[in-house]
Subunit: 413 residues, 2 copies
């Protein structure tokens, strides 16, 4: 007997018929003797409807009220799934975030979970064999008692956090794909589903653009060592197929040098020309951006023709691009630069693999291969288990396919 | 300065535009220096949508889960109205039933409020001038901590209960009509809006078929002596018209003998022919109906030709009619009757007025007037401040108009 968390996203619970299908997946696990907690998202489209009402009500709506409105979607799904489970003979009850409680920070709209009391859920699993159906995406602020939400995709995080709190052996994330792929199969048809991927690799994949899981959920899974299994809710509930297990690297026997290729179009490049090359100038540029909550990612500095100045290039998320330019424009006098240039049609392509730690020259091979295809690299960042290159967006598919083949990730035809 | 509760129903908050209009009503009262709590229903149609999902999920759904799903509608409206109020400069925050808390019995789907802690709401009114926006229709079971709902129209009850809890001077029920009428104006165009009506009269009006307020809300208003003002949310928020004040009878100067005429088509008649006229037979009939939670209303017993038996006629709600017949059919042997007859095309017409206490012969005038119109009376019940007659449904309009004129309720043409 195991204790499991099963998480189902919005498309998996889009209507009552699909909720019935979800119930069959839960039934399979419960009847196999497992203790089960299920975490659900809002029915597909419902969160968008609620968000649209908030935006119509006021362009800059009040955070706590936004959360009170938006959290209602998951509450509905949790109740409906509990009804269906009871109907097919599986004892179940729904739990809203505040009932457990799931306590969070007060960062309304993007709160972080601080603690979950799993005691009562476990007690009822053991005493009544009851399935706990937990509303994802939501919690309660620990001091004010007001509802909070965890940000888009937050139900993944809820699921992993609940799994940690009830000491589950595994967290199964049911989604509309059957696992994590070596890269996006829409771009590389020969991408393969991975059997296993290490937490660290998955964290990089998610951070660098793979959309299968919320970054925060992978962080939590890594910290609490919750084996997390990504699988398809559209499989036959009686005979589901395999997915991808995200686990500790010790549990992965064969470690390729590169496990996957991720890419993100959500990048914009800003270049400041002829910045005075003197101490404190970087602080003068990046300090105001940090204060405005703008994350700066890649940074490169090139000494210009004139040796007393330098050219500074860096990237920000596309959503922050205009705001970042305005801030820098308004501080042009203090910073002192000759010209500001920008480019939003760029993409960051990354290769991730824990095997890089023990293999030298992995990135160098990539730079060569990309150069051979005539792809110009605008910026590079590297870390222990990944490297990223910033290139023109037009070359996205070519670059991803090139790297995917280069590191031997293509499925046999 | 007064403390007020304002309640808005589903059609008044059907979309953001109407919620904005509601906010202007609230603004008017807040800017006049009043401390305001607002109670809101779900947006029109939302509760029906949620109920339909529950029914699709399972024909006999689990009560606590039904409540968890259905209570979400009011939560959404409360958050949206708080957003709009803040947007127009009125400090506001939303409250869900469990946050206040509003504690109820565990009769899921039709729970009764047991207590409301108004302390924090009042504290915030006094300290911050904050408007409390309360989700109607919902509460929390005092022991399990699960959500409960109060039954259809329950937001009226929430409003009156909140008014009692925060010691409000008045509870304003904003609805889609501009007050309580002497009878349904769709049937009697010359029906008049009452300026005032006593709690006891309103309770009878609501119990006997007038749909303007939930019966339970009037009971509460009477018990806690909360003056309750029924008025239109579609009035110009800047210059609202008058409505109907429900108040203590001492506050009504001119008391007519009959204040209003109500009618209910939700009646069905059952007649048992030749029931043995012996002790205990009534218990044998009405006991099993009571056990099945079937309310029996009017009862008449007529000795039949044969003096050892009697004919027994009584009424039940139309929803219980088939079930009542089945119960009586299955006990035919024990009860001992010759024949069972039934009739669903009947209507109960009632005249209500606290003035009846001090005037004799009020009902007798009605029986005469109805007889003159050729209307056959099937059953009669009377109490201190009302009488009701059961007649063929086809005569509804004629009977209502006849009584409305008879007691001088017609508006001058």
């Amino acid at each position: 007997m195991s204790r499991l968390v099963m998480k189902f996203g919005g498309t998996s619970v889009a209507n009552i018929e699909r909720i019935r299908n979800v119930a069959l997946h839960v039934k399979r696990e419960a009847e196999a003797g497992n203790q089960v907690a299920v975490v659900v998202s809002a029915m597909a489209g419902k969160t968008d409807e609620l968000v649209a009402w908030c935006s119509e009500a006021a362009p800059l709506h009040n955070g706590p009220e936004y959360d009170a409105v938006v959290a209602s979607g998951e509450q509905v799904t949790a109740g409906l799934l509990a009804i269906v489970l009871e109907e097919i003979g599986i004892p179940a009850r729904s739990w809203q975030g505040w009932q457990i409680p799931i306590l969070t920070t007060d960062a309304h709209g993007s709160a972080r979970i601080e603690s979950i009391d799993g005691g009562e859920i476990v007690r009822r699993m053991e005493r009544y064999g009851e399935v706990a159906v937990v509303a994802g995406f939501q919690g309660m602020h620990k001091e004010t008692g007001r509802l909070t939400t965890l940000g888009r995709g937050g139900s993944d995080t809820s699921a992993v956090a609940v799994a940690a709190a009830i000491h589950a052996e595994r967290c199964d994330i049911y989604t509309d794909v059957d696992g994590v792929y070596t890269t996006d199969p829409r771009i590389v048809p020969r991408a393969k589903r991975m059997e296993r991927i290490a937490f660290e690799e998955m964290l990089e994949m998610a951070s660098l653009g793979a959309k299968v899981l919320q970054v925060r959920s992978v962080e939590l899974a890594m910290v609490y060592k919750v084996p997390t299994y990504v699988r398809s809710s559209f499989d036959d509930p009686a005979a589901p197929g395999a997915g991808t297990l995200i686990c500790s690297e010790e549990d992965i026997v064969e470690q390729p040098v590169v496990s996957g290729i991720a890419f993100s179009r959500d990048e914009a490049q800003i270049t400041l020309r002829r910045v005075a090359d003197k101490p404190g100038v970087a602080a003068g540029i990046f300090g105001p951006l940090a204060e405005a909550n703008i994350n700066v990612d890649m940074i490169i500095q090139v000494v210009s023709d004139d040796t007393t100045t330098t050219d500074l290039t860096f990237t920000v998320g596309t959503a922050d691009y205009e705001r970042a330019r305005n801030i820098l424009e308004s501080r042009r006098g203090q910073i002192g630069y000759a010209d500001m240039q920008g480019q939003t049609e760029v993409v960051k392509v990354s290769a991730i693999g824990i095997g890089m730690r023990s293999h030298a020259g992995v990135a160098a091979r990539a730079f060569r291969a990309l150069a051979e295809k005539g792809i110009n690299i605008r910026a590079i960042t590297t870390s222990e288990i990944k490297f990223s290159v910033l290139i023109d967006e037009a070359y996205t598919e070519l670059a991803v396919r090139t790297l995917h083949s280069l590191y031997g990730l293509d499925r046999a035809a």
